[in-house]
């Protein structure tokens, strides 16, 4: 078991260690400064902390990376949320004339939560997840990632495991951060196919013509459906669950045969999916069923608000102890949420001594404290299971840095940039 047994009661001891030696502050700061293209972008960003005993504080803001570090090490938040970039420093919002303190920009975010699929999961419910229902997240990520990139033209997407039962997506493009509430809600609705609450049985309704987006999504779902729904979720295993599938509008003429042979339905399903008759009968009922069981369910309210606060990457999940780590889409099929390191694991890994470090220590001690602290921290997380996830984050930042270079060029004149760009670029490289 790669995870040390995590006990929430240990958080007060583990968190200070985490924030002192493992949290990747310099990358975090680099991300949220967005290359310094906009003035005061980092300074006007709202953070919120949940402290011990469920004390919640909003409107936290910081002027430098150093201040962020010191405050987090002092307050030791159990949860960290990121909010919007405001018109003024959030920590001073009370001093601002009422009405003028406003949320200006924020990443476009999506929150996929496994509990929203409870009506179609048989393996788990509520906060539990397992390897069987994790497939739903893979499907969600594939569908949304493609749509956000190809349909909407976004480039810089950061997918993060929430630490317990879902994933978040942070769309960090400049255009995305500047989207209005109406635009965010329109994007979220474009991406929504499963609609309806407790009282709705048929949650997906398809009609002619089928939009290219739906077709793309269907091809992803179809790839996974056989394995996921029939084998893993076993949606046709019992009369009860078949009844549930059947409550979706299947043409009446198939009802009787399906009911009678419900224990043979797995074979029948292949017939159903191959048979052309079905397409005429209830139009697209087979596609609707697949989508209802597998298509991503997102909470539009999370994506809509410019000032909405969302859990920060590299935050710890207090109930599971797992770190909210970035997901490498290239390795998506092998991503295992149960392999994600817990805070207790990485703290333990930190304690394990390594011989070859003694030498480095002597040399570096001569540098100033902050740099030494940073180097130590970088050495530190590299020794733990957190390393590979920070690398994913690094790659994401590098891709964005290239676009910041472009922005800086546009902002300053041509001649001046060569030198300033060189400097900017140099300041972002490190060991």
């Amino acid at each position: 078991m790669p995870t040390s047994d995590y006990d929430p009661a240990c958080l007060p001891d583990l968190l200070p260690l985490y924030y002192r030696r493992l949290f990747p502050f310099s990358q975090y700061y680099r991300w949220l400064s967005y290359g310094g293209v906009s003035k005061n972008y980092f300074q006007n960003r709202e953070f919120s902390f949940t402290l011990k005993d469920d004390i919640y504080v909003r409107y936290q803001s910081f002027t430098t990376q150093n201040e962020l570090e010191k405050e987090m090490q002092k307050m030791v938040p159990y949860k960290v949320d990121i909010g919007a970039v405001y018109s003024h420093r959030p920590s001073q919002h009370n001093a601002v004339k009422s009405g003028t303190f406003q949320a200006l920009e924020k990443e476009l975010v999506f929150d996929i939560d496994m509990t929203d699929y409870d009506d179609v999961r048989r393996c788990c419910s509520a906060a539990d997840i397992c390897s069987k229902c994790w497939t739903l997240m893979i499907i969600a990520i594939r569908i949304l990632d493609r749509a956000l990139r190809e349909d909407f033209g976004f480039h810089h997407l950061l997918w993060v495991y929430s630490g317990r039962r879902g994933v978040h997506c942070w769309v960090c493009d400049d255009a995305a951060r500047k989207l209005s509430v109406a635009a965010r809600s329109a994007v979220a609705e474009y991406l929504s196919l499963v609609k309806g609450g407790e009282e709705t049985l048929r949650k997906v309704v398809l009609s002619d013509p089928i939009h290219p987006f739906i077709n793309h999504s269907l091809s992803v779902v179809e790839r996974y459906f056989q394995q996921y729904a029939i084998v893993e979720q076993d949606i046709l295993c019992s009369k009860e669950s078949v009844d549930k599938v059947l409550s979706l509008p299947i043409p009446v003429k198939f009802h009787n045969s399906l009911c009678q042979f419900w224990y043979h339905i797995k074979k029948y399903w292949k017939y159903l999916s191959c048979s052309h008759n079905i397409k005429k009968g209830g139009q697209y009922f087979d596609k609707e069923i697949m989508l209802q069981y597998c298509y991503p369910r997102l909470d539009v309210n999370v994506s809509k608000g410019v000032n909405h606060l969302l859990k920060s990457p590299f935050s710890v999940h207090p109930k599971t102890g797992r770190i909210s780590v970035p997901i490498d889409l290239k390795e998506l099929n092998t991503f295992d949420p149960f392999e994600v390191p817990t805070i207790s694991l990485i703290c333990e890994e930190l304690e394990r001594p390594r011989a070859d470090e003694a030498e480095e220590d002597d040399v570096k001690d001569k540098e100033n404290e902050q740099e030494a602290g940073e180097r130590r921290r970088i050495r530190d997380y590299k020794r733990t299971s957190l390393a590979k996830y920070v690398k994913v984050f690094d790659r994401f930042l590098e891709a964005m840095a290239r676009s910041w270079k472009g922005e800086m060029l546009k902002k300053s004149g041509e001649l001046e940039t060569s030198f300033s760009v060189f400097l900017t670029f140099m300041s972002f490289t490190y060991t």
């Binding site: 469920d54 509990t115 929203d116 699929y117 409870d118 009506d119 190809e150 349909d151 909407f152 033209g153 976004f154 255009a175 989207l179 209005s180 109406a182 635009a183 809600s185 329109a186 994007v187 609705e189 474009y190 499963v194 609609k195 309806g196 609450g197 407790e198 009282e199 709705t200 049985l201 048929r202 949650k203 013509p209 089928i210 939009h211 290219p212 987006f213 739906i214 077709n215 369910r297 909470d299 539009v300 309210n301």
Partner: protein, 508 residues
């Protein structure tokens, strides 16, 4: 033709150019002087028009046959511009097209003054003006549409023939009613998706690399977006210069009357504070709650929990029927504690939001209970939610089952389902009222859940006879034959109109 045209130019000056299209973006404010009576008359008539637009929008599908017919009738009644050619002969005793357009122009700007003051008023005004604009733009011929676009500098990039060819299949499947031929023939415009949100939201357009590919006939949605943005900015600016306008004693009473007339009953001021006890709620939910609140109450009792959407809708409703903050806190806490939430967690997490609802936290806004329109049109429920309007959001089969459980007669259920099919959700709820209270006619036009409650309580407390009489007299007042037409208006008649206007709104 040319000769008379020139003559018109001599007489009418540059104003003619201003009104040479029957539709406009209201970019330029009117520069002439008008009399106070014209000021009042124009404002009142446009307000009536916008109110009609609002009512029709709820009762009918927008731009359906019924909707269009009724709206057209109202346009004629109130003398707003319909025809697209300016050079109409002046109809005997009526108003010329030019005068109608002038009225359209001026009345819009007057209402801006009345409706720029609060967020709610602005939102309402923009919504109705947009619906109005959508209807009028849709009515234009293709040529006039293009004219309008050019006049207003909306030049969107057209998609090249090669690109259209390579994307042909995708374009056909992304918009309704397009075929291979139409794709080749029609112009397609490439518009950044942020400018085509309505089409993106409903997935009625093809998206690639952040651009929406809009067929020519859909351009109205884009234009509408533009209209909304412009109007929104203009209203914000108007609000800033309002103090100067309001200081004019002649205008101030009219403007405040106009904006107040819209608001009507919002149930924010609780009339019966403390008259309801918590023990009564279970019984009341069956007798006097509209179906949406009955559902929410039942879900709360069964699950000992409600999600945010449900808490807001139900919580504000309870505030509207007269619960005090203390009662509300007790009510929610006692229910949540039976579930997974302990008293401590309730006090930390949920009590805040209850106090927030009563205006005791944060911005300290005293939130108003949701109207039917709000419940039906915004924040649709998703998995795990119980809020929304059951007539709008529930599966008809489930709705039927629920009504059967509540002992509604089969014929009654059928009537309700018919109304739901026709998208008359508020009428369906009214029918539910009639069936559960055993009356033939509800006697009111339902548009607010708290109104349902108040009417129900009134009925159950006796007073049914009195109510019927009052309604008869109000209905005769509504008869158009009794309304005074704004012909040669003098101030006395204008004031009479204001009186009519009040009753016009109270009948809602």
């Amino acid at each position: 033709m040319q000769f008379s045209g020139r003559r018109k130019k001599l007489i009418g000056s540059s104003q003619n150019d201003l009104y040479d299209h029957c539709l406009q973006f209201y970019g330029q404010p009117p520069l002439e002087n008008i009399s106070l009576t014209e000021f009042e008359t124009f404002a009142v008539e446009r307000l009536k028009l916008l109110k009609t637009v609002e009512n029709l929008g709820v009762s009918y599908v927008k731009n359906s046959e019924h909707y269009v017919k009724k709206l057209e009738a109202e346009f004629s009644n109130l003398n707003f511009p319909l025809k697209t050619e300016l050079g109409d002969r002046k109809v005997q005793g009526g108003t010329s097209e030019y005068e109608k357009r002038r009225k359209d122009h001026i009345s819009h700007f007057i209402l801006r003054l009345a409706y720029c003051q609060t967020e709610d008023l602005r939102r309402w005004f923009i919504q109705q003006e947009m619906d109005l604009f959508r209807y009028r733009f849709g009515d234009l011929t293709s040529k006039h549409k293009t004219d309008f676009l050019h006049k207003n500098n909306l030049k969107y990039e057209t998609v090249s023939a090669e690109e259209k060819k390579s994307l042909k299949d995708k374009l056909i499947t992304s918009s309704y009613g397009l075929s291979g031929i139409t794709v080749e023939e029609y112009d397609f415009y490439k518009v950044p998706f942020q400018d085509a949100l309505d089409l993106v939201r409903t997935r009625k357009v093809y998206l690639l690399a952040g651009n929406a590919y809009i067929p020519h006939h859909e351009i109205v949605t884009i234009v509408l977006n533009d209209f909304r943005t412009r109007l929104s900015k203009a209203l914000a600016m108007t609000a800033r210069s309002l103090p100067t306008v309001q200081s004019d004693e002649r205008l101030q009473p009219l403007l405040s009357h106009l904006s107040h007339a819209y608001v009507g009953q919002d149930y924010s001021i609780q009339k019966n504070i403390g008259k309801i006890s918590l023990e009564q709620i279970d019984a009341l939910s069956g007798k006097s709650f509209p179906l949406c609140m009955r559902h929410l109450h039942k879900a709360l009792r069964e699950n000992h929990h409600l999600r945010h959407g449900g808490r807001m809708q139900y919580g504000l409703f309870l505030k509207g029927i007269g619960l005090t903050l203390e009662q509300a806190l007790q009510f929610w806490r006692s229910e949540f504690v039976k579930g997974k939430v302990d008293a401590d967690k309730f006090d930390k997490a949920y009590a805040y939001s209850v106090r927030h609802m009563f205006g005791k936290e944060g911005k300290r806004t005293d939130y108003t209970p949701y109207s039917c329109m709000k419940v039906i049109l915004s924040n649709p429920p998703s998995q795990g939610d119980y809020h929304g309007c059951p007539f709008r959001h529930s599966d008809p089969e489930l709705l039927k089952q629920n009504l059967q459980n509540y002992k509604v007669s089969p014929s009654g259920i059928n009537q309700i389902l018919e109304l739901v099919k026709g998208m008359h959700y508020q009428l369906a709820c009214q029918k539910y009222f009639e069936l559960t209270h055993n009356v033939e006619d509800a006697g009111f036009s339902l548009n607010h859940p708290n109104q349902y409650f108040t009417e129900s309580q009134k009925l159950l407390d006796g007073g049914r006879e009195i109510k019927k009489e009052v309604d008869m007299s109000q209905r005769s007042q509504e008869n158009p034959a009794n309304m005074t037409r704004p012909s040669q208006a003098n101030s006395k008649q204008a004031h009479e109109e204001m009186g009519d206007l009040d009753s016009f709104f109270q009948d809602e």
